[in-house]
Amino acid sequence: MNKEKINKYSYWKANLKIVSILLSIWFISSFGVGIIFSDFLDKIKIGGFELGFWFAQQGSIIIFVLLIVIYCFLMNRLDKKFEVSED
């Protein structure tokens, strides 16, 4: 394999790693705490909210926005590191 190919390969591997970690958090924060474990979390109350209910109607959405922000940051850094950025 030539150098360019190795570079492409490791860039793609690093990309897949970022995507799979972020998607695991995505799954846990919505399906995990909002649905599967919500009965358990509902026993904890913060203000007027049962925690499982809060995650299902508010928390998960906030985490989704943060995940995309983190993704942009990590990918921009990765693009620079592998010198594949467009600018």
Binding site: I35, G48, I61
Partner: protein, 585 residues
């Protein structure tokens, strides 16, 4: 000033703004018509995506539905936002790098097959028309209630406005009007929410107010709501009613469906760079989240307010909004115990649920219905769609807020309709004509064709609005189910698996499509009497079945692909190319 005059002024000003923007940003090439020349700033694209995505369903119906579903309503909140994470991480940057005009373009080129392209075109047209029918109904409701024009006239006015900026401006015109429409709709959504939150809890931030104590009472709003609901025979607002597996599958199907909706995906073709596609997905979700985080607060406020205002009130003492909505046929009261007082309880008030009004009035001047009363104590039929529109009136907010909500609802419906019309027209002029049937047409002819098909699509959409097909509500599950079971897996495999070939993709799409469609058609149309959890596959309702369709698609595709020959070398090059941000588009 009275509400109607104010509504005319505010809606008129908004319409003038949209037309002015459309005239300023006319499209002169197919590139500008399909993808706004690929030069939209990521923040502008984020706003346009948000307006494109947030339809009459998000603005008008969603908070109302959640208000009556309580905790189960979370499926819409998580489902319609979580899809953006999939979109940002799995689709948007790669499709931007691919750099063509439409979703079928990608599927056709990546799978080197016009059959694959055609399957994608059919899915796309079906999904988009399903969706448009809902938008036009929204436009009709707003016009008839707030401007007191006939629903048909309302739909025609709406069509004319969309016609001007979609046919003239194409994607370029649509993008910049959507930016304006986002501003109108979010302002119109937030103002009443903030007002009501202050009135009920003293907290100006609705997201916090919804978890606070009620003003002048030592009890949390949600606890009070649970108490009041239990009192009149409903389950608690914060408890699940549906089974968890169904909640899980509906949420998943809506998320994946969102990521597979062509009018959303195509927005990421309009930004200049791969980096911008990622950033603009983030902006889009942020702008969407502002409304989606407010909606559940509005839902709980509205439910409590509604019960307080209506239950145990003499019909003759009900406020004006109650009678106005009754006149339009979206509220109905049947005095089962002949006491002249409204009782709101759990269960359907009328047999067949939807009221069929007669032209007669009863002793309190209420509208009479043909339906037989049911045996329970509930006397009220209420259409969930009116909660957001009626909310400012229920909470007795000033008239200009009511007018503003009308303008916001129109902005939400029109912006989505325009986005959908554009993907329909580009699928016809670009994918069907230029790429499949008649490759010899010039760019000028293609642009003309795009305009003609946009105009035709508007007319068909308008006919849907004037003669709404009875199946509109049922087919929404269809749009998401089909997007989840066909388009999403085909694109994801096209990017993440180099080995995936045309046979795998085509058989995958078809099997996902046929399975999902059969399941939905069986339970929604052929045998609705079996549409209960005991007959469902694994207890999954037709709304959630798309996720099983998606899994079938993946398995069939991987199996067929493993036993057929790999794709040609050029395809490996395409995939290599879209995986890297740098290099040729």
């Amino acid at each position: 000033m009275d509400v109607q005059l104010l509504t005319y002024i505010i809606v008129g000003a908004a319409f003038a703004l949209y037309i002015a923007i459309a005239l300023w940003s006319r499209a002169s090439t197919t590139g500008e018509f399909y993808v706004a020349g690929g030069g939209v700033h990521p923040i502008a694209n984020g706003m346009a995506t948000a307006a494109d995505w947030m339809s009459a369903a998000s603005f008008i119906s969603m908070a109302g539905i959640i208000s009556f579903m309580g905790r189960d309503g979370s499926v819409y909140l998580m489902g319609w936002t979580g899809g953006y994470v999939l979109l940002a991480l799995l689709l948007a940057p790669y499709l931007r790098k691919f750099g063509k005009f439409t979703v079928p373009d990608f599927i056709g080129d990546r799978y080197y097959s016009n059959i694959a392209r055609l399957v994608a075109v059919i899915c796309l047209i079906f999904i988009s028309f399903t969706y448009i029918a809902g938008q036009m109904r929204g436009v009709g409701i707003v016009f008839s209630r707030f401007l007191e024009v006939d629903i048909n006239t309302g739909v025609i006015i709406g069509m004319a406005i969309v016609f001007i900026y979609a046919v003239l401006g194409g994607m370029k015109g649509i993008t910049y009007t959507q930016v304006a429409q986002y501003c109108v709709l979010i302002f119109a959504y937030m103002v009443p929410a903030i007002f009501i939150s202050i009135l009920m809890t003293g907290n100006p931030i609705p997201q916090l107010g919804f978890g606070s104590k009620l003003l002048n009472e030592d009890i949390y709003l949600l606890d009070k709501l649970n108490l009041v609901l239990n009192d009149i025979g409903f389950k608690s607002y914060t408890d699940f009613n549906k089974s968890k597996i169904d909640i899980f599958c509906i949420t998943a199907a809506l998320m994946v469906g969102t990521a597979g909706l062509p009018h959303v995906i195509v927005r990421f073709f309009t930004v200049p760079r791969v980096k911008d596609a990622r950033t603009s997905a983030g902006w889009a979700l942020l702008f969407i989240a502002i409304l989606y985080l407010t909606a559940p607060a509005v839902s709980s406020f509205a439910r409590l307010n509604f019960i307080n205002t209506v239950d145990n009130t003499a019909y003759t003492d009900t406020p004006n909004w109650f009678k106005n909505w009754e006149d339009i046929g979206l509220i109905s009261w049947i005095d089962k115990n002949n006491d002249g007082i409204i009782q709101y309880r759990s269960g359907n008030a009328l047999e067949k649920n939807k009221p069929q009004f007669t032209s007669e009035r009863g002793q309190y001047n209420q509208r009479l219905v043909l339906n037989n009363p049911t045996s329970n104590a509930n006397e009220i039929y209420i259409d969930r769609d009116i909660m957001v529109l009626a909310n400012p009136e229920i909470a007795k907010l000033p008239n200009w807020v009511i007018a503003l909500v009308a303008a916001g609802a129109l902005a939400a419906a029109l912006s989505t309709a325009a986005g959908l019309l554009l993907v329909i027209s580009s699928a016809v002029s670009h994918d069907l004509m230029k790429k499949t049937l008649k490759p010899s047409i010039t760019e000028k002819q293609e642009l003309l064709l795009a305009r003609i098909s946009a105009a035709t699509a508007i007319i068909i959409a308008g006919i849907f609005g004037i003669y709404p097909p009875a199946f509109v509500a049922q087919v929404v599950a269809f749009a998401f189910g089909l997007a989840a079971a066909s388009i999403f897996p085909a694109i994801v495999m096209g990017i993440f698996s180099k080995r995936m070939n045309q046979y795998g993709a085509i058989f995958g799409m078809l099997s996902g499509l046929i399975f999902t469609a059969t399941y939905i058609i069986f339970f929604k149309f052929i045998s609705p009497e079996y549409n209960t959890s005991e007959y469902w596959l694994f207890g999954i309702s037709p709304e959630g079945i798309g996720i099983i369709g998606m899994i079938i698609n993946f398995f069939v595709a991987l199996f067929i692909c493993a036993i057929t020959k790999p794709p040609p070398v050029e395809v490996y090059e395409i995939v290599d190319n879209i995986r890297m941000p740098e290099g040729d588009k």
